[in-house]
């Protein structure tokens, strides 16, 4: 039996358990929807935002940020908590007793992130279009950018999540460690707070982490021309996004491979 066949079997099982877990459904899958609704309701009284000539509704501004947040939650938060719990409650130990390769296990996790992350993004776009009446881009070039930022961002997030799962000392502490970290990243990466309102030193710090780049990529797709002047160096800097995410992908991959154990390391 090949690594890929078992990986496919894992994807099916992983996705099934994801949708049966109420905590994950709320804090990972539906969280961006909740935040989009809250921010849209809270700030819509301010009217349209943006540089002169390129004003958009507050909902339209938040949509790309929430898609980026969804990528981070589906990958980093979901897997870091999920795998730490599986290590704590014996799920991993049991899988480690079977002829399942760790690679197939990784494929299952990344596949789960892909299926659920894609569904989440599609539903966010649908909700943005149908509920908030946001105009979605029509140029094919924008959707090409969307596709590669989405795929690169999701794979990177998944690998960083697998790597992070080695940190919590117990399954129970996983949510306490991971959720605040991820929340902090969302505040400083231009997801909850408008990116150009953040001080430049905070922007610099955010630039060390992948979410800032995913969010920037998504803004380049969904915000109209003219908004790029509010970015660092007044540019969408797609090349910078690709490089930053590629570096994090490699870091995540290496750390995942090095730190992964079916059981806790010997004392």
């Amino acid at each position: 039996m090949s690594i890929a066949t078992l990986g496919a079997a894992r994807i099916a099982t992983e996705t099934k358990t994801y949708f049966r877990s109420p905590d994950t459904l709320f804090f990972t899958f539906f969280f961006p929807f909740v935040m989009l609704a809250i921010f849209t309701a809270a700030f819509s009284a301010q009217g349209e935002v943006g540089p002169p000539g390129a004003e958009i509704t507050i909902g339209a501004y938040y949509l790309p940020g929430m898609i980026a947040a969804g990528i981070l939650l589906s990958g980093v938060q979901n897997l870091a908590v999920d795998i730490a719990l599986e290590k704590g409650n014996g799920t991993l130990k049991r899988l480690g007793s079977t002829p399942l390769s760790p690679m197939s296990y990784f494929i299952g996790k990344i596949g789960q992130v892909f299926v659920t992350g894609a569904l989440q993004a599609a539903l966010l776009l649908l909700a943005g279009r149908l509920v908030l009446g946001i105009e979605l881009p029509t140029e094919p070039g924008k959707w090409v950018t969307f596709a590669w930022v989405f795929v690169l961002g999701l794979v990177t997030s998944a690998l960083v999540g697998i790597a992070l799962s080695a940190l919590p000392r117990s399954g129970k502490s996983a949510t306490a460690v991971v959720i605040p970290t991820v929340l902090l990243l969302q505040f400083m990466s231009g997801v909850y707070l408008q990116w150009n309102m953040l001080p430049s030193w905070l922007q610099e710090i955010a630039g060390l982490f992948p979410l800032k780049w995913i969010a920037q990529g998504m803004r380049s797709v969904f915000l109209p021309e003219g908004w790029e002047v509010l970015e660092q160096n007044e540019s969408w800097n797609l090349a910078g996004i690709a490089i930053a995410l590629a570096i994090w992908l490699v870091v995540g991959l290496v750390l995942s491979r090095v730190t992964f154990r079916w059981i806790r390391r010997d004392a």
Partner: protein, 293 residues
Amino acid sequence: MTTNDVAVRVRDLQKTYGRKAAVDGVSFDIHHGETFALLGPNGAGKSTTIEILEGYRIRTGGDAHVLGVDPAKGGLDWKARLGIVLQSTGETGLLTVAEQLRHFASLYPNPRDVDEVIAAVGLEAQAKTRIGKLSGGQQRRVDVALGIIGRPELLFLDEPTTGFDPEARQQFWGLIRRLKAEGVTILLTTHYIEEAAQLADRAGVIAGGGLVALGGVDEIGGADARVPLVRWTDGTGSHEQRTEEPGLLVASLVGSLGREPDGLEVIRPSLEDVYLQLVRAAEPVPAREEVAA
């Protein structure tokens, strides 16, 4: 004898954590088709020994072969020949019994039939129930089912019947006897000595990281340990005496006292009595409790 003649061969096994020895010089063989019970108090080194043989932990010293393979280097092909029933876990149990077993069956090259395994552990009525909704004893049966779904040559059973009611335990024993009849080699640990006496051909008693007894379940501890014991109390205090002829001893006591002796007991040591003697003799056990986990 080469390592291929036995299913498990352990020689002078050592495992130290820092300066503490959790396992210190354990040696035994398990023959093909044999059921071997490893007995011992909590923290004695049982779990560490088993986890080394299962490939989870790396030994510090000594030799181990499991199905002809060094467990520290066992690959996926080797794992496909093992079945492992771990001590009870706290998994979230979001899949149904049938879903979980079908998935695990798909991981093995030559699995047993899922419905047959569900029937063998007596969970037909719960097949479509999520595992998290089952009782503790029923979840333990799922653990056993997952351990045998891959048609293992060697089955590790780590305290398999914890949480079983007496009837479930009897059913479980029946299942293990059927597996034995199919030629499956079994390594069992249990706190129910009666269970070891029922199922095992041979047993090893581990205490303080070392093996203090090894032999057939009818012989372990030596012939002396199984000699009947007579206890009684008289004016000078309580007495106990081992004798092959307890009836004659009691008759002579009655004769000399001229009446019924106080607190009279005649004990034919069970495996449990022998076990407790062995473990007490091995005390004081140095503080090994911390390394038990």
